[in-house]
């Protein structure tokens, strides 16, 4: 099928991965390839044409063992924009509640000729285990506090669109690093592309161990703020904490919330990102979230482009150029 596509997509033969499970195992070249591809898809879909046929005939299954609105919608939409059929599966009301193991569930779905599985799960490593047991491609949509590769990619894409090269930039991830999959994907992706990464938050939520892999560890936001080119404000993951590792939300906001007062300490061109859903008044105040430095909504748009790029690369569908 010939397509009315003017943009030229990057060479996909450079992509050799069957799955996308995390960013830790990708090379800088592979990450750049995804970003470049996403840029092209964004160009195509921002134009007149919203629907492509690159994955026409493919079936993409959204296997969500944990609630999600934005990521799930984003993946669904990305798959449909590439012409794929989508199947939605959620754990509530499924065979899982009847005692079936998640591997059996996935194998049953695969037996219905699914080509791609997008998996969200609350336990780290579940996409990796799944990838060992099924023949189709597995894309992680977040595994517990481990990684959320497409979120990391879309955060990085957003920064790249505003700042160009990532190398030499100082990016601070602020908040609940311990329980954040977004933080881990950002750390690997940013480091591989040459950025300096700072993790900042209360000492109970930011492990000193991060310095072992070349990440700067900080507890005082005001001290690091003047050096930062980008802030990524992470949500406090109350649902993953057993006993609350800080005294109160009020105290947290006092120490770490990005507000207009703190903005005065920041560089004039600082970029504020947040993976969302944002808790207004906790990690970010409304004036900052809706202010000129915030690129939070760009991130959402970029999420779609990143997921199209990932589905296309991993799915190995029809080459748009050919």
């Amino acid at each position: 099928m010939s397509l009315d596509v003017t943009a030229v997509l990057p060479d996909r033969t450079a992509w050799t991965q069957r799955h996308l499970l995390d960013l830790e195992s990708l090379t800088a070249e592979e990450i750049t390839l995804i970003l470049d591809t996403a840029d092209h898809f964004k160009e195509i879909t921002d134009g007149c044409r919203k629907k492509l046929t690159a994955l026409s005939g493919y079936t993409c299954c959204n296997l969500f063992f944990e609630n999600s609105t934005r990521t799930r919608t984003s993946f669904s939409l990305a798959a449909r924009r590439l012409g794929a059929d989508t199947v939605e599966f959620s754990s509530s009301g499924s065979s899982l509640s009847k005692g079936e193991t998640f591997i059996d569930t996935a194998k049953n779905l695969e037996a219905m000729n699914v080509d791609l599985m997008v998996v969200r799960h609350s336990t780290p490593g579940t996409p990796h285990l799944l990838a060992q047991h099924v023949d189709c491609s597995v894309i992680s949509a977040g595994d517990g506090p481990h990684e959320h590769p497409t979120q990391g990619l879309l955060d990085i894409l957003t920064i790249r669109q505003h700042r160009g090269d990532l190398a030499g930039l100082t990016v601070a991830l602020v908040g609940d690093i311990a329980h954040s999959r977004t933080a881990r994907s950002n750390i690997w992706g940013l480091k591989k592309l040459g950025a300096h990464v700072i993790v900042c938050g209360p000492s109970t939520l930011v492990s000193e161990r991060w310095s072992d892999v070349g990440v700067e560890v900080a507890n005082n936001l005001d001290e690091i703020l003047p050096r930062c080119d980008v802030l990524n404000l992470l949500r406090i993951q109350f649902e993953r904490q057993i006993t609350r590792p800080f005294p109160s939300v009020r105290e947290y906001a006092l120490l770490y919330a990005m507000n207009s007062q703190r903005m005065r300490l920041a560089k004039d061109d600082i970029l504020i990102t947040a993976p969302g859903p944002i808790n207004r008044g906790v990690e970010i105040t409304s004036d900052v979230a809706d202010g000129p430095h915030s690129v939070i909504l760009d991130q959402v748009t970029n999420g779609l482009a990143i997921r199209m790029a990932v589905l296309w690369l991993v799915g190995g569908g029809e080459n748009l150029n050919g």
């Binding site: 799960h121 609350s122 780290p124 490593g125 579940t126 990796h128 285990l129 595994d143 481990h146 990684e147």
Partner: protein, 443 residues
Amino acid sequence: MKTSSLLIRNGRVVDPSQDLDVTADLLIEDGRVAGIGEDLGDAHTSLDAGGLLVVPGLIDLHVQLREPGFEEDETIESGTSAALAGGYTTIACLPNTDPPIDTQAGVEFVLHQAQRANHCNVFVLAAVSKGCEGEQLAEIGSLVAAGAIGFTDATLPIHNAELMRHALQYCRMFDRPILNRPEVLELTRRGIMHEGLISTLLGLPGMPIESEDVMTSRDVRLAEATGGHVHLMSLSSLGSIDLVRRAKARDVAVTADISPAHISFDDEELRSFDANFKLNPPLRSANHVQECIEGLLDGTIDCIASAHAPRASEKNMLELDKAPFGAVGLETALATVISRLVEPGHLSWLEAIAKLSTNPAQVLGLESKGSLALGADADVTLIDAQLDWVVNPLRFRSKSANTPFAGCQLRGQAVATIVGGEIRWTSPDRMLEMRDASDLTTP
């Protein structure tokens, strides 16, 4: 010549209880050791042990047999059969069954099933607390009368310090040890792996070493104060080993074991997210693994125990947080000790066998076991220390295959396991030359 006699000829006899390491014959009569030396006379059956080690039968003081209640994982029949294949002539089983072994009837059931299976000797470690719930003492006196050899709440730490203190005091009356898994549960709740760099990178909930160190410290102090004997199961941390080392220097009645997995692997293995590496205590980082070996060398750690924890395969096909802790170990423990401790020169054969047989016998108070002295129970293991093999869980005699050693090349294997003078198991991997007296008299 007695009809129930067995002569094991020309083996390298290693017996730590007599500090003996010689090439000699071993004569067994009526289920007891009748002599070590040369020209011991004829026996009804004779066995050529040239090139093999002849050692007191291996003793494992930390085995889960899972029956009653969890027969999908293991039965007393399959577990004791696995023990024989691993060279064990005696095992002590934990009470974490359903119902837990906290009554005389429970103890007698296990002993009865073991007798029926007729594989290796089985001794019961009964529950310290009723239902292993950590609240009230079980009827320890009655359990001793039924044959319980020691007391433990199995994989559940005795978290109530007062209960632990009472248990140590009370068990002194019966001269039985309390076996505890030192762990402060508040620090390990929801934990999946060792807390460290790898858990930070993987986002997996960590189990900090302080959990083990703090509880070890408590147990050592309580043992010291009460004069009771505490045996710490599956030590894994630098700090806890150091605490035990110092306690021993003060003559506190504390003993300890570690599992072969903890000297073979570190927390890097969890990068595979493979549930077979999900152990409790968790596989630690390399510096702790090194200290475990040090602890074995200097005698701080008395025993090596398999920590055999069979789990049916469907339980390990779950997400890492839902998969159970533990791994089978009976059929790989000896080979691991040979490959990782004896071959690299960490332990001599005398030291290795002491930790696999003589010391566990002492911890459990089994006076006629763990030794090849004249009159000792004729529990003997013959080992081919040169046999290389690759671990294939499908070949296990255990019902379960959850092992971190799958595919590992190991050296050394038990080739014959003799219980009470009877050859109960011979390895299919190495033929033994055996002759009956009747063959000899045939013209």
